[in-house]
Symmetry: C2
Subunit: 187 residues, 2 copies
C-alpha cells in the first residue's frame, strides 16, 4: 500500500479510536509506518490529513448505507435493513463521534465532511419515506424530512446509549422501538 493510503487509513482508525484531540501526528506516523518527513511531504499537517480521513470515512458510510437503500423491498424493509445491518456498535459511529470533539467542531474544514455526510443521509432517508408515501405504505400525514431526521437520530443516539451502558442492548432496543413506531408496523 502506498504511503498516502497508509496515512489516511491509519488516521481513520485513530480518529475512530482516540478522537481528533487524542490523536497526535507521532501516533499517525507510527501507525502508518511513515516518517515525519513523509507525512509532511504529502499533507500540510494533522488537520489536512484528518480532513482526508473524515472524507474517506464519510464516503464509506454513504456507500454502505446506499447498499441498503437501493435494495428491493418496502420503505420500512429498507429502513430496517439499514438500521439492523452489522455494526461495531460499541465503537460508535466514526463520523458521529467526531461531533463531540471541540477542535473538530471549531474547524470548518473538518466539520464540513461530517455535515455533508449527515445531510446526504437525511436526504436519502427522506426520499425513501416519500417513496413509502407514494406507494401507500405510509399515510399522507408523515413528514419525510422529519421522519428521516428521527431515523438518523435513533442510530446516532443508539450508539451513545450503547457506549454509556457498555452493551449493545440499548442500541438494539432503540432500533426495534423505532421500527415498531413506523406506520406499517403499527397498522
Amino acid at each position: 500500500m502506498e504511503t498516502v493510503e497508509r496515512l489516511i487509513r491509519s488516521t481513520q482508525e485513530l480518529l475512530w479510536e482516540r478522537g481528533y484531540v487524542g490523536t497526535s501526528p507521532k501516533a499517525i506516523q507510527r501507525a502508518a509506518d511513515a516518517g515525519q518527513g513523509s507525512m509532511y511531504h504529502h499533507f500540510t499537517g494533522k488537520a489536512q490529513l484528518a480532513r482526508a480521513a473524515i472524507e474517506r470515512s464519510g464516503a464509506e458510510l454513504r456507500e454502505a448505507a446506499e447498499d441498503q437503500f437501493s435494495g428491493s423491498g418496502t420503505a420500512t424493509e429498507r429502513i430496517s435493513g439499514y438500521l439492523e445491518r452489522d455494526r461495531e456498535v460499541l465503537r460508535g459511529c466514526r463520523i458521529g463521534r467526531l461531533t463531540s470533539d471541540p477542535d473538530v467542531m471549531a474547524d470548518p474544514e473538518l466539520r464540513q465532511p461530517i455535515d455533508e455526510t449527515f445531510t446526504w443521509l437525511r436526504a436519502r432517508l427522506a426520499e425513501i419515506v416519500a417513496e413509502g408515501k407514494r406507494n401507500g405504505e405510509y399515510p399522507g400525514s408523515l413528514d419525510p424530512e422529519q421522519t428521516a431526521a428521527t431515523i438518523a437520530a435513533v442510530l446516532q443516539g443508539g450508539y451513545v446509549l450503547a457506549r454509556a451502558a457498555g452493551s449493545v442492548e440499548p442500541f438494539e432496543l432503540a432500533v426495534k422501538g423505532l421500527i415498531n413506531l413506523l406506520p406499517e408496523a403499527t397498522k
Copy 2:
C-alpha cells in the same frame, strides 16, 4: 462559594466544553481560581474530580427531566414536554458527549455515573409509556422498554445531527418526527 464547589462546577463546564481528554488539571485550577495544592487537598486528581462533576451533571439532568415527567398531562404531552424543553442544543448533552471520550469509557469509575443516568432516564420513560398503555392512550403492542430507548436515542442523536450541521434544525426535525410517530399523534 467554597473551593470544592468551585472545582466541581468548573470541571462540569470544562468537561462539557472541552471533554475529558481536552481538560487539564491546570485549566480546572484556573477556571476554579484554586491553587494546585488546594485541588489535590480535596481530590486525588483529575479522575476523581471528573467523577464528582459527572455525578453532579447526572443529578441535574435527572432533576430537570423529572420536572417534565412528573407534571400533568397525557404520556405524549409529558414526553413532548421533555423533548421540547429549552436546551442548549449546539453544546450537546453534557453526559452523552462524554461517551465519545475514550479515556472516560476506559475508566469504569467515570463511565458508571453516565451509565446510571441513562439507565434511570430509560426506566422513567418506560414507566410513562406503560402509564400511557394503562390509560388506553397507547396500544397494547407498544413495548415500553423499546420505546423508551427510542425516545432517549432521538434526543442524543438529535444533538449529534445538530452539532454536525452547526444548526438546531435537525434536532428539532428529529424531535417533531418522533412525536408525530407516537401512537396518539398518528391515530
